[in-house]
């Protein structure tokens, strides 16, 4: 974009032949430029476009036909009047022509006029709406974002039909610019958040961005931490849920995932499903997830610590069981656990890379066959197999894929600390992790809110759920402009029994 902006010498008027040589020189070795010259009673016009980017039928029927059949003399104004298409506009600069011809515009130039006419007749190849692949819901809308920005904006608009919803356009990328949309609700989102986000996007000087997940990494608060600071989702459902709480969304052209910011640590364990369930189930499921993080991080490290250093902690009956199953294992606990954890990671990675059908087979073969064989061969104890399987399973309960990967990785340093220093090491790791979490920011807001800074009012949304009457407010932590969502139902008066 920047290149060539300075030499914006006047292009028009120009003869049609000259324009043809000019365009062909620009698209040298690109055989797809269609450049046709039409003549009618001394007047000449040129029609040019990139053939595979436009709808050929539209060009022929609505553009060429009225153009050639029309009785009046060819001028810019008469053509604008005659062609029954709404998107006509006058373009004067060569750079703009070169830029826009690539998104599917068709140009008409009447010889010796001082502007070319452009019509957007683009043909976009896009896939249909499908179910989400990486995130799944039992209840609620299941449609996923696609690679097409238009489709994505469409889906978001289905849910929030209001002029309050702002879809701000920002171009990102110096060499190959790509469109990004800042999505927020004007009457809710915090002004500072919007400004921070906008500033970060505008100050970004990158060649190009590959995907919204890459863009997220460019604009995150800290790139050193293992935790994702923005929420990445492919479910419009979750996206809209965040937007109408006053948070900011980011959509990127050609990326099926949307970014949500600011995101607190606990928002990564929220699923919109918790809302669709009744509050008892919602609270239960969310606590299952919190227990799952705990298990996933601590289960195997504690096993290593206990069996290496502090076997006194384990009651004698369990100790006998563990001892029995570990009797023929030749490795120290830390090596045994690392081998098995690595094996599980192998399975997961193989399952993710292979197509679904083979992936499932690999899971069964790997999990059952190799697992059983490993125990029989005396490489691991079957007690440990259970623990490793539980902790792997637990890490998959986290609704966000980035967070679940982060949690899985944290386990490895914990295991090593547990193996080297026992409980002291694990405690050190825990303290370090917590202090680390306290220091992270997401879009300038504390990551561990509502725990710290403490927000009593937000606890029932972040950590558990209460009946709908107690959920009438938005998160204080994100400081939306309007905190109230609905009025508490005060119609219920207190009644005595049998009244």
């Amino acid at each position: 974009m920047r290149k060539g902006k300075n030499k914006s010498s006047k292009l028009f008027p120009i003869s049609v032949d000259k324009l043809k040589t000019l365009m062909e020189s620009k698209f040298e070795n690109n055989p797809d430029l269609s450049f046709t010259i039409f003549e009618k009673s001394e007047a000449r016009i040129a029609v040019f476009y990139i053939s595979y980017l436009v709808e050929p039928e539209m060009v022929e029927q609505f553009m060429l036909k009225p153009l050639l059949d029309g009785k009046s003399k060819w001028t810019n104004q008469s053509i604008l009047n005659e062609i029954p298409l709404r998107s006509g506009s006058k373009i004067e600069k060569l750079e703009e022509i070169l830029d826009k011809i690539l998104i599917g515009e068709v140009y008409i130039y009447v010889e010796n006029e001082d502007a070319a006419l452009s019509y957007l007749l683009d043909k976009k190849e896009k896939r249909d709406l499908t179910q989400a692949e990486t995130e799944s819901l039992v209840l609620g809308p299941k449609v996923a974002f696609t690679e097409s920005m238009i489709t994505n904006l469409n889906i978001v608009r289905w849910s929030i039909r209001s002029t309050d919803l702002v879809l701000e356009k920002i171009m990102i990328g110096e060499r190959f610019p790509r469109e990004a949309r800042l999505v927020y609700v004007k009457s809710l989102a915090d002004e500072t958040d919007i400004n921070t986000m906008r500033q970060r996007l505008k100050e970004l000087e990158v060649d190009q961005i590959e995907d919204s997940s890459v863009l997220m990494q460019y604009i995150e608060d800290s790139s050193l931490t293992i935790f994702p600071q923005f929420y990445l989702t492919e479910l419009p459902d979750r996206f809209v849920y965040a937007i109408d709480k006053g948070r900011i969304g980011l959509l990127v052209e050609n990326s099926p995932t949307a970014t949500i910011a600011p995101s607190s640590f606990f928002s990564f364990f929220e699923s919109t499903e918790d809302l669709y369930m009744r509050w008892h189930a919602g609270t239960f499921l969310r606590s299952v997830r919190f227990i799952a993080i705990f298990l996933s991080i601590f289960l195997t490290p504690l096993y290593v610590a206990a069996t290496t250093f502090h076997y006194e902690i384990i009651p004698i009956k369990e100790l006998l069981t563990i001892g029995n199953s570990r009797a023929i294992v030749p490795f120290p606990p830390i090596i045994e656990v690392l081998i098995l954890e690595f094996f599980i990671e192998l399975l997961r990675e193989a399952g993710a890379r292979l197509p679904t059908k083979i992936g499932q087979t690999i899971g069964i073969v790997g999990g059952i066959v190799i697992g059983t064989a490993a125990v029989q061969a005396g490489i691991t104890s079957n007690f440990l197999i259970i623990l490793v399987a539980i902790s792997a399973l637990a890490s998959f309960t986290i609704p966000n894929y980035l967070m679940s990967t982060a949690i899985r990785i944290i386990r490895f340093p914990m295991i090593i600390l547990g193996g080297l220093l026992g409980l002291i090491g694990i405690m050190f790791g825990t303290c370090f992790l917590l202090i680390h979490l306290l220091k992270i920011k997401s879009l300038g807001r504390p990551y561990l809110t509502p725990i710290y800074p403490f927000r009593w009012e937000d606890l029932n949304k972040a950590l558990f759920r209460l009946p709908i009457a107690y959920q009438s407010k938005r998160f204080y932590s994100y400081q939306p402009k309007d905190i109230k969502r609905y009025k508490k139902n005060k119609a219920k008066t207190k009644k005595d029994i049998d009244e």
Partner: protein
């Protein structure tokens, strides 16, 4: 040096976090062995000594709050400069800093000692000190905001330990308390003085005060913190008197930790291991806040960058705690901190109070500006 401190609004903290700061820094490593020391002095009436000590602390903290209220936004370093002039003020400030450094050292070596006694006798001092100090350096780099967060979070993550005392409570014998009211006042007073090391730490209020946003609400959390920590020490003292026999109590070095040994669940046999590891969550916040006060104080007094002090001091303490390995030396350090601290923490504010009042009156009489400006 300015008397009043200018603190940016985004660095300020809410007053209610003072509860966690003060109560948590009081309950540090001292509490692990305190019942024995009180019992030594005032026998079965040790619990009266605790109450006595807490009443005294309430008095001291009232004096401290009163002194701080006379100024707009000052800390102890500023107040001392205001009262005693530049040089004497700096000297007294330095004494405060030294007190904190010694307290820091005593905390880290005590905890390492406990770890060695209870968990791993052949633990390397250097490794543990390195771990602890890296946590301290890492969180002090986050500033007071992060430190307060650590206090708040770790408070809730360690408070459940009290629940493990159910079993010792069930085995209490109430005849251990009889006959009651036998100790003389001097014995009670000596018992109260034995708590001085445990209860120490609330002097941090003198440093944190300028950072508090809503100063009109300072009183409640402060007093609540004092009451809370007094209650915990009182409860632990009562339980250990009731649970241990007299001879045992006089012999056991870490009375409170030994009480956890009896607790067990179907899947965990020895809770004392977990308690002592978990105690890291009590020790680390203590060290962090002390370290912050040291670095911040040195910055105020000598304009040294906080990061410089932090790294240098961490290395010095790492070396010191690696080589301080001898039980009697550790005991001696703790005793000297207790003795030194007694004067600074408990007596000094009471002496400072009349001076502040006199200075205030004198200034008003001489028609000078108000003290706070």
């Amino acid at each position: 040096m300015d008397i009043n401190v200018k603190v940016k609004s985004n660095l300020r903290i809410q007053a209610f976090y003072l509860f966690f700061l003060i109560s948590f820094i009081q309950i540090g490593v001292g509490i692990m062995g305190v019942p024995r020391f009180i019992f030594k002095e005032s026998q079965q009436d040790a619990w009266i000594s605790v109450i006595l000590a807490s009443c005294f602390i309430v008095m001291v903290i009232s004096a401290m709050l009163f002194i701080l209220k006379q100024y707009e936004n000052a800390d102890i370093l500023g107040i001392q400069t205001d009262l005693f002039g530049k040089w004497l003020g700096k000297l007294l400030g330095t004494i405060y800093i030294i007190h904190f450094i010694l307290a820091f050292l005593s905390v880290i070596i005590t905890y390492i000692e406990v770890l060695k006694i209870f968990i791993a006798p052949n633990l390397n001092n250097f490794v543990v000190a390195l771990l602890l100090l890296s946590l301290v350096v890492y969180s002090v780099r986050g500033g007071l905001q992060a430190i307060v967060g650590v206090f708040f979070l770790f408070f809730f993550l360690s408070i459940w330990l009290l629940g493990l005392l159910v079993e010792p409570i069930r085995f209490m014998h109430f005849n251990h308390f009889q006959p009651m009211f036998q100790a003389s006042f001097t014995e009670l007073w000596k018992g109260a003085k034995a708590t001085s090391y445990t209860f120490m730490g609330f002097e941090i209020l003198f440093f944190v005060y300028p950072f508090i946003q809503n100063k009109q609400k300072v009183r409640f959390p402060t007093y609540l913190a004092i009451i809370w920590s007094s209650m915990i020490v009182l409860i632990l003292t009562v339980i250990s008197i009731g649970y241990f026999s007299r001879d045992q109590l006089l012999k056991l070095e870490w009375t409170v930790l030994d009480m956890f040994k009896i607790q067990n669940l179907t899947f965990i046999e020895r809770f004392d291991y977990i308690v002592i590891a978990e105690w890291m969550m009590v020790v680390v916040p203590n060290m962090i806040l002390l370290m912050w006060a040291i670095t911040y104080g040195i910055k105020r007094l000598y304009q040294v960058k906080q990061k410089t002090t932090l790294y240098i001091l961490a290395i010095v303490i790492l070396i010191a705690s690696t080589f301080i390995d001898d039980y009697f030396l550790i005991r001696k350090i703790i005793d000297s901190v207790a003795e030194f601290g007694f004067w600074i923490v408990y007596v000094y504010p009471l002496l400072l109070l009349p001076m502040v009042l006199i200075k205030k009156r004198w200034k008003r009489k001489s028609g000078g500006r108000d003290l706070s400006h």
